[in-house]
Symmetry: D2
Subunit: 366 residues, 4 copies
């Protein structure tokens, strides 16, 4: 459900940008289809899917069938020539490694690219090789790619031709921590992040581990101690802290379709040993978040008793944020909740598109 | 996600209607809040909730907090004077029996009323007493109430001041059966309807039976053999068939949040004993549905291999519909799926409001 | 949880039967492993799984790791020579078509066989071809196979070398209907059975349709109008009624791990038009079930207000049963609930094994 | 499913102990009923429930109906006189505060008591007041109560008359950490424990927050930063470390019926900066757990690639345990999974009963 925020002084219409989605049948690709069909200023001209080539969007995704375009738009093969001829801006919803191979010719032909894979999120090809186990397919593009976290890099996104849109885990950790590190409120060492992820985060892949019966009534950590996304999380935290940040990250798979809840334990720079110091820290954090996010339409800071709950953000592009000073341990707890497919993937990518195209940033985003 | 359907030749804006919701903290009431906050042509002026009086909508329902009005609108006591002064049209999302008590003074004061309870769905007060166990609180209003199934009674809804908006089970059975009965394709006897309902259908009530642990990993029939909603289902089926229809209805509670899947076994009027007769019946049904629903934006007829699946309609106001001729038994199977809170409650009520107010019927509906 | 029923006058120990499971890594095979590890009178000597050959049971199924044998027993290739040498009785938990190929040499070598597939459930190879789409691989064995519903064919099972153990849907329909058909209480025409099945019924297969995200929050009918299991259901119903029975069967997939709830609408032989006739029918049904099942340890007849609920039988070999006379329609509703992997598959197979081996029938069954 | 472990040199039968359960209709009480009905050496003589007084166990819990005793045993009022006359050992499954009021007269009359509430878990009445908000109702009993973690205090439990059986969160944190603290492998500072709990942990209480719709598709932290169970967790960790331990604990509610997964981040005493030091730490931990738990039937240490998964322990009294050295951060991750109602409540209480009564410790426990 989309609530249009008031935008004053804006033009009542905008130039239409022609968009395409490469890899449109996974969960992120499907959500991009949904968002772009509903977007008032862009036209979805192509959606590729090797598996569904020739079938209409309405047939593959009956839930979109009430949109007129869904009945005529057919999934096609991912041909570069077609994409560069028809589209101004291309979303890549592909596995890492594959995405870079598409980005090169698309950029060369003048398309703008928003990549939802990990291929352009790291600035250092050596780190990519360490975490992804193979050489980077297009290291020459790393320097020009922008890490697409709109709340942090809005200006760079605006003029970029290659946006590396962050995934769900990084977003759930970076948005809560970056202001606090940047403002010197928390230490760069000793950060422990625990995340609970819905099963759509594993993608639409036919694997036994993600069958209903294997996931339902199951709670399990996985990917410890060195999950691939640590590479980009630590790159961005280090950038905010202006010093190297290494964190502990423990992802868990839990039986919901969508949503990520993340709980992060950090150490304040100034020791907290009594109620007065706790109150002081509380004020500093509140001010830091207010400065960073006061006007952000997609960040909701919970200041009262409420704690983030994925059911309050699923279906929206909003990230909920709260914190608690733990005077007993002298540590601080920061919590976030988001929809892993919207703010954690496709919603965030469309948010970047809105910025790149000069549209109001909330356009078409629930 | 709302896909705007093309409306040609319409005015670009409409007169604003002031709306209120009485009983806004149940699941149907909450969904009305969501829909009316997002509706471009109406203004939500009051939402009542004894439990949450004085609290803002944003506080009680954090998921709506990004809408500006949610931060200022506070739940209030259900005072008739306030409602009649501030609102042009009032939605009643109250238990049966209570709703009628509100409808009387609201109508007397000139408000239009859309009632989501069962209070005005029956034309015969004796039937109400039989199924609901108490005398009807306002029998004098029954004659003027319109049964608010837009696809069936659009014209009567347009000019009505009192719309009795049908609930989820009746909608899931009536929309599939009414065209077939009206066109004389199926017999009025021997109809057996099985429904599977998500737990939100039980309402936001603190009862042991609806705790997570009591519903999760549980499948159970209930309310057999004489569920209350049979009264309105049979009234409307009888009206379509122009003869008395008595059906068997078996509702089941299953562990999903939202959605109703209904499978209805019926007997064709013309016997089906071979493939040619089956094909003939298939064509008749197809023609009957096309005549009834071809231009209906919220009915999706599945003609190929696909069967209705609640996950394709949850979050939308769409009802999916399919059928299978069972040549082995000579019977016909009709299947539907819908979101029990949208097409099965609040979405349908807003659809009626759009009709009553002269707005495009799909306005604000996903 | 197993409650030992009192068995008087029984020997305190029994001869050990050596058992093997072919196809032990599917959901039914896994449950057989669980039951046979815990069974006091049998020894599990082999469990085959091409996928897990060489790995211990404890490694593949950590939940069984506390049983000493699970740490030493390794999954092996399904070699006939090994099986016939080591085992007295072999369970086949294989896809249809494949099972028959194993049964032939095992029987020839003197093993007793309990087959959980559909391969030996039909007496007529032509019906098999009609419903399964290929010729029966061992039609010569059909005459000697016993349909392994213990409550119905206990004596034949006792002396059989080839038991065709029924699956979940047939069990959920046959046990409620057979006594009523046999006793002439219900008509053989106009039977409509709706079933709700947990996802484990689809097997441990890596298919997109059964991923968590595709099943969770989804309700859908499938396999209509001619589900394969209709062939055996109608064969057994016809046998009980002593006339041809053709029924309508509508299976649904719902998001629980385990459990089947079945609701069956039938027409009584004697018309029910008033309360006295309803009470008469009620007594006849009660007597029919009492005669059939009074002493059955795994059938629980609910005579009061309670209705079957899968959560009361999951984890046990019990089938719950209830009925309601629907005086309004003159029809009768019969309802059952069971664990689809226990009473609907592996538990029932072990029940047959207990009978074949002369053990108390409830041995090792929860 | 219970696998009997081999117990050599034991008597083949044991004196019968008469047991009673006070508060038998909550989730822990219900599980005690299940375990005690199935227990071969004890006789369940009374189960109290104000709500269900006079109804049989079989009626209230149909899933137990196949046990003969369930058909005759009726829930009764919690009368001290009855309990002390009929029972030798009484389980208290009551809210904190209430449990102590029952323990006093029961102990005075010579009954042994196993209390599943928090009332006797703390040694210091002042800590009780701090965390539970009221004075301890029976501070004089605190000195004699034994904290009933069998793997840690088996000898004290054996001779105790008052066992304070630990709950789910403490068990999931204490069993992994106590050996490592006791052996000086990890630091007492900087411990961060995140737990994911199934909804049965909230009890069978009719509250909106625990309705199916409010929990399903929801992930949320709660009870931070000072959950009540921290008091006993820190007491026991401090005892093991022989120094004060204060930890950070972040519980989350997730949509499963049963199970707790806990992930604990700790700092090794010896710095880990390279692979060799990591390997050294790994060996120390392995040796520490082996020394502590090698012969424990209910602790399963995962040494290979597998990580704890609640679906492998739900329905059993087993706690799974694994660890990962995180060489990047120099920290250690310890993970556990258990059934919150069995090892986390009623199973553990029966384990203590077995010890107190001289039965094999695994008797009657799955």
């Amino acid at each position: 459900m989309s609530f249009s925020l008031p935008h004053t002084g804006e033009p009542s219409s905008f130039p239409t940008v022609r968009t395409a989605i490469v890899g449109a049948s996974g969960y992120s690709g499907e959500e991009l289809v949904r968002l772009l069909l509903a977007h008032p200023y862009t036209k979805l001209v192509a959606a590729t899917s090797r598996q569904y080539t020739g079938e209409t969007v309405a047939h593959v995704f009956p839930k979109f069938a009430s949109h007129p375009l869904a009945k005529t738009l057919r999934f096609c093969e991912p041909q570069i020539e077609l994409l560069t001829r028809e589209a101004d801006l291309v979303f890549l919803a592909l596995p890492h490694g594959v995405a870079a191979e598409f980005a090169l010719p698309l950029l060369a032909a003048g398309c703008r690219v928003i990549d939802l894979s990990a291929d352009f999120r790291l600035r250092d090809a050596a780190v990519y090789r360490e975490f992804y186990g193979h050489d980077h397919p297009a290291p020459g593009l790393l320097a020009q790619a922008v890490y697409g976290l709109p709340e942090i890099r809005r200006n760079a996104i605006r003029t970029s031709n290659l946006v590396a849109s962050p995934g769900c885990y990084p977003t759930s950790i970076l948005l809560p921590l970056i202001p606090l590190l940047r403002d010197g409120i928390i230490q760069s060492r000793g950060i422990v992040a625990n995340s609970l992820s819905g099963v759509s985060g594993a993608g639409r892949k036919a694997e036994i581990d993600f069958l209903f019966v294997e996931c339902n009534e199951s709670l399990r950590a996985y990917g410890v101690p060195k999950h691939r996304h640590l590479s980009e999380i630590e790159q961005e935290l280090s950038s905010a802290a202006d010093t190297e940040v290494v964190i502990q990250f423990i992802p868990h798979l839990v039986p919901v379709n969508r949503g990520i809840a993340t709980s992060i334990s950090v150490t304040p720079v100034n020791a907290v040993t009594d109620a007065s110091e706790a109150e002081q820290l509380h004020r500093e954090i509140s001010a830091s978040y207010a400065a960073a996010y006061r006007n952000e339409p997609f960040i909701r800071i919970l200041e009262g008793k409420a704690l983030p709950d994925t059911k309050n953000v699923v279906g929206t592009n909003v990230l909920e944020l709260a914190w608690r000073v733990d005077i007993r341990t002298g540590r601080l707890l920061v919590l976030s909740a988001q929809d892993n497919i919207l703010k954690g993937a496709s919603g965030q990518a469309v948010q970047s598109m809105n910025i790149m195209c000069g549209y109001p940033e909330t356009t078409g985003l629930p």
